[in-house]
């Protein structure tokens, strides 16, 4: 019986976490959609979001949920600036794809260093009562309050994002750029402006994910960025690059698989994101919901 109960916990808990992971990984996919750039600083932006939540709570006693709204405009502006000042020169270079990877890695190092200088090297965590909700009791199992709260944050955030993308004229242009930068340019879309917004939205999603992530990941420390980036990358390639629905489906599967691994094979659960990247790339490089495209 205990085995069945654990299974239920893993699946339903994985579902809740999966919704969070979708929000967490979506930003990386959005930035990729703009100019085929893998934003290696994604995880560090998540970390920044965590620090923002920490600072706002500790100094002004602002709830991390409210912090989501406060940090968003700053993150969008940062994304816009990065795109505006860094990528044009990059795109003219000999090997934009690999060099962009290195450039954004440099950016990740800068963020990590600044975070260490400002907040110190040690992990910061918020007391769990910073979000005063009780744990969720469902079918005889209890789930930490933060799990369902984070899912409740992720659903409207993703909802607004998808609404913008599929139900507005802006979204139409965005999708035009995502499918082909050059074609969109000839169709009169200002690709550079739209790309800037992509970076803005992508950075915004990452930072928002961070404000909740300080609870999900048990704390925030300057060096956590790289591992978070790999996890997000695993999710978006598994779900198909450039496909937002793919990211959501993949994130939920990822959440459930990780939880199952933690319950039944805890010592191997760290391997899940890495194995996911490798298997996806070797067996189905276009991802779960992707049409066949050239990655090789």
């Amino acid at each position: 019986m205990a085995v069945l109960v654990l299974f239920e916990f893993a699946v339903f808990g994985g579902l809740l976490l999966g919704l969070y992971y979708a929000m967490f990984a979506m930003g990386l996919n959005v930035v990729f959609g703009a100019q085929r750039i893998v934003n290696l600083a994604h995880g560090d932006l998540v970390v920044l979001g965590g620090y923002a939540a920490w600072e706002l709570y500790e100094t002004w006693h602002i709830s991390p949920i409210v912090a989501v709204v406060i940090v968003l405009p700053f993150a969008i502006a940062l994304g816009f600036l990065v795109q505006h000042f860094l990528t044009p020169r990059l795109m003219r270079s000999a090997d934009p794809e690999t060099l962009s990877l290195i450039l954004f890695f440099g950016l990740s190092q800068i963020i990590e260093a600044l975070a260490t200088i400002v907040f110190g090297p040690n992990e910061r965590s918020l007391p769990t009562n910073a979000i005063p909700v009780s744990s969720l009791h469902l079918l005889g199992e209890s789930y930490p309050g933060i799990w369902w709260v984070s899912a409740l944050v992720a659903i409207p955030v993703l909802g607004v994002f998808l609404w913008l993308l599929y139900r507005t004229p802006f979204g139409l242009r965005v999708r035009a750029v995502m499918s082909s930068v050059t074609e969109a340019a000839t169709a009169g879309v200002n690709a550079s402006r739209v790309s800037g917004l992509f970076f803005g939205i992508g950075f915004g999603l990452a930072v928002v994910a961070g404000t909740v992530g300080i609870f999900i990941f048990g704390g925030v420390s300057p060096t956590a960025g790289v591992a978070l980036t790999i996890t997000a990358f695993a999710i978006i390639v598994f779900g198909s690059l450039g496909n937002p629905w793919g990211t959501i489906v993949a994130a939920i599967i990822f959440g459930v698989v990780t939880q199952l691994a933690q319950v039944y094979l805890p010592s191997w659960s760290n391997l899940v994101p890495y194995a996911l990247v490798i298997l996806t790339m070797l067996l189905r490089p276009q991802g779960l919901l992707g049409r066949r495209q050239r990655v090789a």
Partner: protein, 332 residues
């Protein structure tokens, strides 16, 4: 103007070909011998040989990156995986097979190359996909080696203790030897027919295949050489510090340092990665150890500026300064 400039540069060198042939032949050996000699002198002036060991290993790793990224265009973020595998295979050899340090180091190189062979299918991917998938593979190696369930084989997260085989003189010698060999191999490849083949593959793999090149095989050799260098490097490193935990040898910083050192010096050149590694690693030890976050900040800025303004690194900067001096700056 551009055409004229090329003519000037190319034709005189053609005339001088006979005269400079010995210099061309000698320069790979010179490029390898000078750093080796400096190391051999430095250790008498400066006795923290462990720091020199690390520097020599980083020179070798930067050359490894040069061979795989500089000559084939494939950037392996997961390069540290081979480093870790090398350290573990050598450590296992010392503990379980009773190998002596130097022999174990060579076995570690074989281990690195075998790990490279396992990752061969990743060459189907290109660009960022390849870079990040190798990163995942490096982390996967780490997750496997450090797994508590495998404690009976790898000693899991509890690390290896090679204190019985510790020998500071030998490990220093091997590290310097590795740096010399790595530089030499990179330089010889660059000047050889094989180097030309790799450049052709990098420029256009399909066109290269139509020129009769077995693209997969020739790229694979470069990959194996780079992986073996990292394996030997990891083996020497583990042996030199004698007690290590998985996170010390499967450390993404190893990849990052090797890539940035090579990039800073100049990918595709021979002196570039050597000087990049020596200089930046030295600065790291002066500045970085006491104020790591400021070093990291500077280092991140260097990466961003390099990519934006000097993608060919120091070597590229020197070349353009030289060109400017010779041709009055009009050429570029």
């Amino acid at each position: 103007m551009l055409l004229k400039f090329r003519d000037q540069r190319q034709n005189p060198s053609e005339d001088l070909k006979g005269q400079s042939r010995w210099r061309r032949a000698a320069s790979p050996w010179v490029a390898a011998a000078i750093p080796v000699l400096i190391f051999l002198v430095a250790v008498h002036v400066y006795s923290n040989e462990l720091l020199l060991v690390d520097m020599a290993i980083y020179i070798a790793l930067a050359q490894g990156i040069n061979i795989i990224y500089g000559f084939t265009g494939y950037l392996p973020f997961g390069y540290f995986g081979f480093f870790g595998v090398g350290a573990y295979v050598a450590g296992y050899g010392i503990i379980h097979w009773g190998l002596s340090g130097p022999v174990a180091v060579l076995v570690g190189g074989v281990g690195g190359a075998l790990a490279g062979a396992i990752l061969l299918p990743l060459f189907r991917l290109r660009g960022a996909y390849f870079a990040l998938t190798t990163l995942a593979a490096g982390e996967a190696f780490y997750a496997i080696v450090s797994n508590p369930s495998l404690t009976s084989i790898t000693n899991g997260p509890y690390g290896l203790n090679l204190a019985t085989a510790y020998s500071s003189g030998w490990s220093f010698g091997m590290a310097v030897g590795l740096a010399g060999v790595a530089i030499l191999v990179a330089a010889l490849i660059k000047r050889s027919r094989y180097g030309m083949t790799l450049k052709a593959i990098k420029d256009d793999p399909y066109s290269a295949a139509m020129a009769g090149i077995n693209v997969a095989r020739d790229r694979f050799y470069a990959w194996l050489i780079a992986a073996a260098i990292a394996g030997v490097g990891g083996a020497i490193y583990g042996w030199a510090i004698s007690v290590f935990y998985p996170q010390d040898v499967f450390d993404v910083t190893v990849s990052v340092f090797a890539i940035v050192f090579a990039l800073f010096g100049g990918i595709g050149s021979i002196w570039g990665p050597t000087i990049g590694a020596a200089l930046l690693y030295a600065i790291y030890n002066v500045v970085g150890v006491s104020n790591p976050q400021y070093f990291q900040l500077i280092y991140g800025l260097i990466i961003v500026l390099l990519v934006l303004f000097a993608p060919r690194g120091l070597a590229g900067l020197m070349a353009s300064i030289r060109e400017r001096r010779l041709f009055g700056g009009g050429a570029r």
